[in-house]
């Protein structure tokens, strides 16, 4: 059953259009992550789902009920804010139960629910404290408790982890994920951290400038990005985007790569029918760093492995791996090697290109070919 459906939603503040026709559908139990660069309209969209801001045109449905004109408190949603928005004058218990009190739940029942949630989030010892006496992580938990206790149809999170330090962020990320798996609740989660998006989401909606770029599972976005923006946004380090010419080599489409020493090599990109029309034309080749490796760490069962000697320009050791930068068609290209592969700056290395995961983009529209 479709749990949340957003149809052609536009939002304008005066003359500035912030959302330019968003269409998103998610099922009950989905974990939708909205990602995109700062200012792309993620919070705006979330506020509209919450009903905190009106939409200019379009339609938002929650469980098949149009909620365009429904007050936030009647949409059966709960929201966790970036700043947590804990009521400073109330203790943790009151904070969590305030929503229930407003809904006229009897005191005894309220107590039980709060106790239940407090136990789930392990904040029982904190119930009598004021928010100012809590650490960042504890506040975050209380904010989640306030949402959980209401048992809403949809949870909305607006960058809930961005105020935490790096370590706590990873811990809380895991906890949110566990919570989702345990409760099976529907969640819409805003972040601009693509790692958070990849790890948490069952579906990712990636936005740019008020336009939805792609909606899909994390794997879809990673492996079949709809355009160069999505390709560059997801993954770290990001996908290499190399301008190249598509040629036919033995009847198979391939891209021509010119190395630093002017020698060229042909990398076959697989036989996709859509590629035929592009032979002889310029394209953009997209290659993820982990598909450019040393010989030992290549994906052995890939049907499209190609090996070539390349000059290493720079190495960036990260511990387990080393990112090696080579030059192809005048672009810096990052490959991911094992630390033990012996890559040395200024020396040649045998590099394997795993073209099974290569994607091609139209240089004009920046959309994916095929």
């Amino acid at each position: 059953m479709s749990s949340l459906s957003i149809r052609d939603v536009h939002k304008a503040y005066g003359p500035t259009e912030v959302l330019k026709g968003i269409d998103i559908d998610i099922d009950s139990g989905d974990f939708l992550v909205l990602v995109g660069p700062s200012g792309c309209g993620k919070s705006t969209l979330l506020n509209m789902i919450a009903g905190l801001d009106s939409i200019t045109s379009g339609e938002i449905r929650i469980e098949d009920k149009v909620v365009n004109d429904t007050h936030p408190s009647e949409r059966d949603i709960a929201m966790v804010f970036q700043s947590y928005a804990l009521y400073p004058n109330m203790n943790v218990e009151k904070n969590i139960s305030f929503g229930l009190e407003m809904r006229r739940m009897p005191r005894k029942q309220r107590r039980e629910r709060v106790a239940e949630v407090a136990q789930m989030l392990q904040i029982e010892p904190l119930l009598k404290r004021k928010p100012s006496q809590l650490s960042g992580g504890q506040r975050q938990r209380v904010a989640m408790g306030r949402a959980l206790v209401r048992e809403p149809k949809i949870f909305l999170f607006d960058e809930p982890l961005s105020n935490l330090d790096a370590k706590l962020r990873v811990d809380m990320r895991t906890e949110i994920k566990k919570l989702h798996q345990r409760l099976g609740s529907t969640i819409v989660y805003v972040t601009h951290d693509q790692i958070e998006a990849m790890t948490l989401a069952t579906k990712i909606a990636i936005m740019k400038g008020g336009v939805l770029q792609q909606l899909g599972t994390p794997a879809e976005l990673y492996n079949q990005p709809a355009n160069m923006f999505v390709a560059g946004f997801m993954g770290s380090p990001s996908m290499n985007l190399i301008p190249a010419e598509l040629v036919a080599s033995d009847g198979e489409p391939a891209v021509r790569m010119v190395r630093k020493d002017e020698s060229s090599m042909l990398l076959p990109v697989g036989d996709n029918p859509a590629y035929r029309d592009w032979i002889g034309k310029p394209v953009i080749l997209g290659l993820r760093p982990e598909t450019i490796t040393d010989v030992g760490s290549a994906e052995q069962d890939s049907p499209l492995l190609f090996q070539g000697e390349c000059l290493i320009d720079v190495t960036e050791p990260t511990g387990a791996d080393v990112f090696a930068i080579i030059e192809l068609n005048g672009r810096e290209v990052v490959g991911r090697m094992r630390a033990s592969c012996g890559a040395k700056v200024g020396e040649k290395l045998s590099v394997v290109f795993n073209m099974r995961h290569a994607v091609l983009f139209d240089p004009q529209t920046e959309g994916r070919i095929g």
């Binding site: 919450a50 929201m79 804010f81 009521y87 004058n89 809904r103």
Partner: protein
Amino acid sequence: MASAVDTGVQSGRFWRVLIYVTLIVFAAFYLLPLFVMLVTSFKSLDEIRQGNMLALPLEWTIAPWISAWGSACVGLTCEGIHGYFGNSIKMVVPSVLISTLLGALNGYVLTKWRFPGHRWIFGLMLFGCFIPFQIVLIPMSQVLGLFGLAGTTAGLVLVHVTYGIGFTTLFFRNYYEAFPNELVRAAMIDGAGFFRIFWRILLPSSGPIIVVTIIWQFTNVWNDFLFGASFAAGQSAPMTVALNNLVSSSTGVKEYNVHMAAAMIAALPTLLVYILAGRYFVRGLMAGSVKG
């Protein structure tokens, strides 16, 4: 190098001493009238006539205080100032409470429930703060007459609330401007309505600014003379007006000690408010002025 540091410390100490001496001199200078009032109010008339204003009483007496409170002549009646003191209390308490509450409500609406033209409304209220009292005297007396409130304490309350609302709104607006909108939104999602959000979320977090507003309003309303003299004559006059009448209506000997005691009684409530809440006053002013 070391000697340079030394002189630095030396001159630092020198300046500090200088600053303290200056401050003490000024503090003494400003406190002198209060001191004279206090000692005079505890002296007998004879002692006052003998002379030294600054001397401590040879014989302490609280008779002037008792007389000022209960039997001194104000105008034609000789019942002391206690009735007028009561008038002032009856005037100041509702004025302060109502204007503070309305200011808080205005500040809440002007920051969290913005409507088209909110800037204009706020601008006009600010403008109201700067209208001199004298200009509104005649229109105000007409309005009071119209409402049948002329010469009553209730009328004075209305005047002070009207006049105070500009300031109280300014205080609360600036304070609530810095109050996170997300809290209001969270409460909205939790199902709280307009007044519920105000009572349960904003007002309980407004301690410092409430103190500021109460002190400000209390001092202004309590110390007001012009409105009191204009709109509430006779038995319903506030303390300030009665004090003036007391001083000017004494026939024969001027009872300086009684006057001083009465003045002290008149000043006591504001003094008390400052002592009790003064440190919140400064803190609240700072908090309100950071943003807005």
